[in-house]
Amino acid sequence: MSDKGNLIITDSQLSDEERRTLEVLVATMIPANGEYKVPAADDPKIFSNILARSGELHFLTEALQTLDELSRDLLQTDFSSLEPEDRVPMLEEFNRQQRPALRALFGIASQCYYQDDRVLKSLGMDARTPFPDGFTLEQGDWSLLDPVRQRPKMYRE
């Protein structure tokens, strides 16, 4: 049973315990990577955005509780207390039971992750709004059209 008496400041209505499970869960989904110099999805700034959107996932509280129950059944501890090497296999097991829920959460986490300045910069993007500066697009080679120009009329009257 989760502790509903200690809610964090979010629309998601998660308890501290559920929030911790969610943190570990999203960091397992999208871990930090030194090669690309990107943080994990539990980075405080990214995670706060995930929390802010978690209210869209009406099933989230139940899913997090189910994940913890599964973890306790199989490895006798909450998901957030698992050894790192046990988390992905547990997630795969959970995915067999709760695929739509997990996919939806992965989607929300990814949306928040790929808006982060550090992540965008690691992808070679400017961390800015598209408008007003826009982007440059090359014209391309219009001579490619030459053979098509030679085609006869294709339409029917």
Binding site: M29, P130, R149
Partner: protein, 531 residues
């Protein structure tokens, strides 16, 4: 409370309502347009903010947006859900801006292919209105397309970019047709609009104003000439007098107060779902089955365009998030070839690339981007490396595909909401399968190493057509050959509802050309309009 009567009352300020309003204004008649949405503020469009890929208030789905200006649509009994937008500009706020015309043969497929029905008008009738509409909307493209009769786009085509160049090479290697898309994206300054700066987010509103939505094309001209647009006004029903003529409409204003607006002429411009909804909500003693529905055709023959999507993953960086979705198209498989096992055909429209979040969602939903340690490598294999196409398949009219009134669902004013019952035909399924195979073939030819497909695109009900069809026989059509309802002589319909067939192209150009043609027909007959 009743306002002063007006000469012309237009319901809906989208693609067709704007065109008909602008055309009718030179009659000096008092023209009022009621629009349930509001004027847009381009400075607030998603591309002016950091959340440009995730704003749910710019979703194409009215059910997902759920804004006060939206009405719900029960489309649970359809494999394709309805897309629309309620604002001054209507769905042109969110459309991609593809602007193909119908072909001459599209108006006579009964004669040519023995299927569906011929239109009571032809390409030659609409051609001057297509041209006038191109001028008002500001269309870019390139003359000389062998798939079309001669036409002269006003601005150069949108750039090929890396994606267009890649795919053009693929089409050429197979000897298939392709051509720069006719596009409602301005590539030069035009009529007060600035040119495209490749924001890459055309389908959530163009903050630059380069894309031709009617709030920045027709409406400024119409309003300056005296047309009144009342926003936040949702029409409940059209009233008729004891002579069977439309007397005006009952609507809820922006404060939710019921109003009556009398009019000499009522013009419906509410799209292929909104128009039958209002007609069916306007039943009366004279019209017990819904207004203008003596034929029983109101709400019947609902057509979407079933869409297939084929995306390729390439080894080298392409355009990614840059540039308009409009690029090039192919009509290699547009005309009927019975050896393919289906009638009619489709257009392939290249969709260029996608942003970082759309890339992630594509990767997740297709199973190509996993969670865990391999996430980042898999994501980078896709980022800026996806391009492909959608295939817009001609849908054929079928009586069992319908818009009716939901018995339970209502909008925020308590007005019964529309219910969609739609099934993909066997013809459409075969066409989608063919489109998927040909899309993969050309993408492989262009160098794609991996293919991602979807058919039909379940959220892709962008085009709403056929539910108040045009025809000379009042027994099986709702409006005559110039848009006047057979049953109600001062009621006109100018939106996609009146389409007899759907062709295999985006409909906005034809919707607007029809609206201009019907407006001109009204103007030419003013002395005896109701005879």
């Amino acid at each position: 409370m009743a306002a002063d009567p007006v000469d012309v009352l237009i319901i809906g300020a989208g693609a067709s309502g704007a065109a008909v309003a602008w055309s009718l204004v030179d009659t000096r008649m008092k023209v009022v347009c009621l629009e349930q949405g509001n004027w847009m503020k381009p400075a607030e469009y998603p591309s002016a903010g950091r959340e440009w890929e995730t704003r749910q208030d710019y979703s194409i789905s009215p059910n997902r947006r759920g804004l006060p200006v939206d009405y719900p649509v029960n489309d649970t009994n359809s494999p394709i859900s309805v897309a629309n937008f309620n604002a001054v500009g209507g769905a042109t706020i969110l459309y991609a801006g593809h602007f193909p015309r119908f072909h001459p043969g599209d108006f006579s497929i009964k004669t040519l292919d023995g299927v569906a029905d011929d239109w009571p008008i032809d390409y030659a009738t609409l051609e001057p209105y297509y041209a006038e509409n191109d001028r008002m909307m500001g269309i870019s493209g390139l003359a000389g397309d062998p798939a079309y009769p001669p036409k002269n786009p006003l601005m150069p085509p949108v750039p090929l970019g890396k994606a267009g160049e890649r795919l053009a090479g693929g089409f050429n290697s197979l000897g298939w047709h392709w051509w720069p898309s006719d596009s409602a994206v301005a590539t030069e300054q035009y009529d007060g609009r600035d040119k495209c700066i490749n924001l890459g987010s055309c389908t959530t509103g163009c903050a630059q104003g380069a894309k031709a939505s009617t709030d920045i094309t027709y409406w400024p001209h119409a309003v300056r000439a005296g047309v009144e647009v009342r926003t936040g006004c949702r029409v409940r029903e059209i009233r008729v007098n004891d002579k069977g003529m439309a007397s005006g409409v009952v609507y809820y204003d922006a404060d939710g107060v019921e109003q009556m607006q009398e009019a000499e002429i009522v013009v419906m411009a509410c799209n292929g779902v909104g128009t039958p909804r209002i007609l069916l909500n306007s039943s009366s003693n004279l019209f017990p089955d819904g207004l203008a529905n003596s034929s029983g055709m109101v709400g019947k023959n609902m057509m979407f365009h079933p869409y297939a999507s084929v995306q390729g993953v390439f080894d080298e960086p392409l355009d990614g998030y840059k540039g308009p979705g409009n690029c090039i198209w192919s009509q290699e498989f547009y005309e009927t070839d019975r050896s393919r096992g289906f009638l009619r055909g489709y257009t392939m429209e290249i969709t260029r690339g996608r942003g970082p979040i759309a890339t992630a969602m594509t990767g997740i939903h297709s199973g190509r981007v996993p969670w865990g340690e391999d996430h980042h490598r898999a994501y980078r294999d896709l980022f800026n490396r996806i391009t492909g196409m959608v295939m817009i398949c001609e849908d054929l009219p079928e009586l069992h595909n319908t818009v009716t009134l939901d018995p339970d669902l209502v909008d925020s004013n308590g007005i019964p909401a529309p219910k969609i019952d739609y099934q993909l035909s066997e013809n459409s399924r075969k066409m989608l399968d063919h489109a998927l195979a040909k899309g993969e073939e050309v993408l492989r030819a262009a160098g794609a190493k991996d293919i991602i497909t979807e058919a039909p695109i379940s959220v892709g009900g962008w085009h709403l057509m056929g539910t108040a069809r045009m025809g000379v026989d009042r027994a099986n059509s709702v409006v005559n050959e110039w848009g006047r309802c057979h049953d109600v002589k001062n009621l006109f319909i100018v939106d996609g509802s009146i389409f007899v067939t759907s062709a295999g192209v985006n409909p906005t150009s034809t919707i607007q050309a029809l609206a201009l043609y019907i407006a001109d027909s009204i103007k030419k007959r003013l002395a005896n309009l109701f005879d």
